[in-house]
């Protein structure tokens, strides 16, 4: 438990100068990375035609994500976070611009991207193992390989023993772990998560965050994690993309220079939270 024991391990990042945040960090530098990016969004725009008119959900968003990086996207409701998620996952076509994954343009969804939704979206008619196996059934892996990989993934997310349970028999936190295992099973280049922990209670959420970080460092995956919880972004991210509304646009990019595991009691942590809150201009509900 990260609990409330103060000062331990957070000291290491102190030399970053916590009071000296760059006041405006939205520069080409912050949005791009050195070396070949794993993910690249170039001038992404998305408009929806609806009976009530055209909605500009996203407008000219460009950024890069380095290999193995953990990037969080944060922003108020309606700022286009989910839209961005869907564009990157290839679930929708951008109105303008393009997404590149490992240099290739993304046109379709596919197993090179592991997606995790807020509402889990497990296949309710499949057991835990069946869900995790789902993506593997569409590869040419052998049966034994599949079984092996499924078991490894289930162990990884700590659900050993629940292989034959159906989703209805699981708690919210357990369901989300299955969703993560399922996404990881096909060994994607990028793990894409849209507010995955939005629906679980606070304690479970903290635990899942810890586990996700463990999995991330263990597998070395690149992760793009959407959230509207500022503390979550600061807990998890190497960098945070801040989206703004009307139309959805990239407003800010903030690098979180804290060593992991991060401690919420740490004053620097609190300062990052204040900074992000300030940048979002968010004030709670709605």
């Amino acid at each position: 438990m990260t609990g409330p024991d103060p000062g331990e391990g957070s000291a290491a990042s102190a030399d970053d100068g916590s009071a000296a945040f760059p006041e405006k960090s939205l520069t080409a530098d912050a949005a791009s990375v050195s070396g070949d990016p794993r993910v690249e969004a170039r001038g992404l725009s998305k408009r929806y035609d609806t009976p009530n008119g055209t909605v500009r959900a996203l407008e000219d968003v460009s950024f890069e994500v380095a290999d193995g990086e953990f990037v969080c996207v944060i922003g108020p409701s309606g700022s286009g976070k989910t839209t961005l998620f869907r564009l990157i996952a290839g679930l929708e076509e951008p109105s303008e611009g393009a997404v590149y994954l490992g240099g290739d343009r993304v046109t379709d969804p596919g197993p090179d991207m592991g997606v995790v939704f807020q509402e889990y979206h497990l296949f309710p008619w499949r057991t835990v193992a069946g869900n995790v196996r789902f993506g593997l059934e569409h590869t040419d892996a052998s049966d034994a390989e599949r079984r092996d990989r499924v078991q490894r993934m289930i162990d990884l997310v700590g659900l050993t023993g629940f292989e034959d349970s159906y989703p209805t028999e699981l708690s919210g936190g357990m369901k989300q772990r299955v969703a993560i295992a399922r996404a990881l099973a096909v060994d994607p280049d990028l793990l894409l998560l849209d507010e995955p922990f939005g629906a679980v209670d606070a304690q479970t959420k903290e635990m899942l965050q810890r586990e996700l970080l463990d999995i991330w460092s263990e597998t070395g995956k690149t992760a793009l994690f959407i959230t509207h919880d500022v503390a979550e972004a600061v807990t998890l991210a190497d960098r945070v993309l801040v989206l703004g509304s009307d139309p959805g646009h990239l407003q800010d990019v903030i690098r979180i220079d804290l060593d992991r595991p991060r401690d919420r009691g740490d004053p620097e942590f609190g300062e990052y939270i204040s900074l992000l809150r300030h940048r979002i201009g968010a004030d709670g509900d709605r």
Binding site: Y48, T50, P51, N52, G53, T54, V55, G78, D246
Partner: protein, 289 residues
């Protein structure tokens, strides 16, 4: 959307629970609003018309290979239809059918909803009636014509009885399912807010909560009752069904099809009207399915 989900078990689902509003379009630019709307509806209309056209052409082609006493051409049916309409016979028949369709539907619906609500609400009544209900449910309305005549006579009341039976079961099951599905916690909330006794709870909590299912049942029942008009008019009572039966006895397939078309169209009109009502009553569901 699209194919209108009506009249069977199935559609309850479609108009049913899985309403996941998307909160779409919060920042519309109303400049092109009308344009988009028009584009969407005109597409629907175009495709739908295309479908109807294809159907009529298909019918025409098949009718060429069939003698007219099996399948007359669309043109022949249209001619008959126009003749019947202009002679006034069609309107008269509609008027006659409505005379038992309306009371039959109303009585059957009211009784069905009432019994369904009671059986769904009271477990004892439910347990007592359940086997009888399962036994009576499959009795085809046609088999009840004898009773209709004996108890109500050859008049609109007898025909209404047949129709009411059809409406009864559909509404019984719809209300039953709806009431059974009402969250007990909602009832608890009502009780804790001072609603007391079965009658009050039903009135203030259970029936409103079950109203989506009840309304779907009513709508389905209205549709089925139109189809029962033919069965209800097998004895004595005049109307559309009688015209169909008589034409069929005289081997006038064109007249049969013309009057079936009348049934279809009336069904469409009534159903569309009811759907609008239903939608207005259920605005609170936050979705316009």
């Amino acid at each position: 959307m699209g194919t209108d989900t009506t009249s069977t078990a199935a559609e309850t689902e479609a108009t049913g629970d899985r309403v996941t509003p998307k909160g779409a379009a919060e920042t519309p630019e109303s400049t092109d609003r009308m344009a988009v709307l028009e584009r969407l509806t005109s597409r629907r209309a175009r495709y739908g018309t295309g479908g109807i056209a294809a159907f009529v052409i298909g019918w025409f082609l098949v009718s060429l290979t069939q003698p007219s006493y099996v399948l007359p051409t669309p043109a022949a049916v249209a001619t008959t239809f126009i003749e019947e309409a202009s002679s006034g016979g069609l309107l008269v028949a509609i008027g006659q059918s409505v005379l038992h369709w309306i009371p039959g539907t109303i009585v059957g619906t009211a009784l069905g909803v009432a019994c369904g609500v009671v059986a769904g609400w009271n477990p004892t009544i439910d347990e007592v009636t359940s086997p009888v209900v399962r036994l009576l449910r499959p009795v085809p309305p046609l088999a009840l014509i004898g009773f209709a005549i004996a108890w109500f006579g050859i008049n609109h009341a007898g025909a209404a009885f047949i129709i009411a039976i059809g409406a009864f079961w559909i509404n019984f099951y719809a209300a039953y399912g709806g009431v059974e599905g009402v969250s007990e916690d909602l009832v608890d909330v009502g009780r804790s807010l001072g609603v007391d006794g079965d009658r009050e709870l039903l009135q203030h909590v259970v029936i409103p909560a079950a109203s989506p299912e009840i309304l779907t049942g009513i709508r389905t029942g209205i549709g089925r009752c139109w189809m029962l008009v033919v069965a209800a008019e097998i004895f004595g009572v005049p109307g559309i069904g009688r015209r169909i039966l008589r034409a069929s006895n005289n081997l006038q397939v064109d007249v049969v099809i013309a009057y079936i078309l009348v049934l279809s169209l009336l069904f469409l009109i009534v159903d569309t009207a009811f759907r609008a009502t239903q939608r207005r009553l259920l605005v609170w569901r936050g979705e316009t399915r």
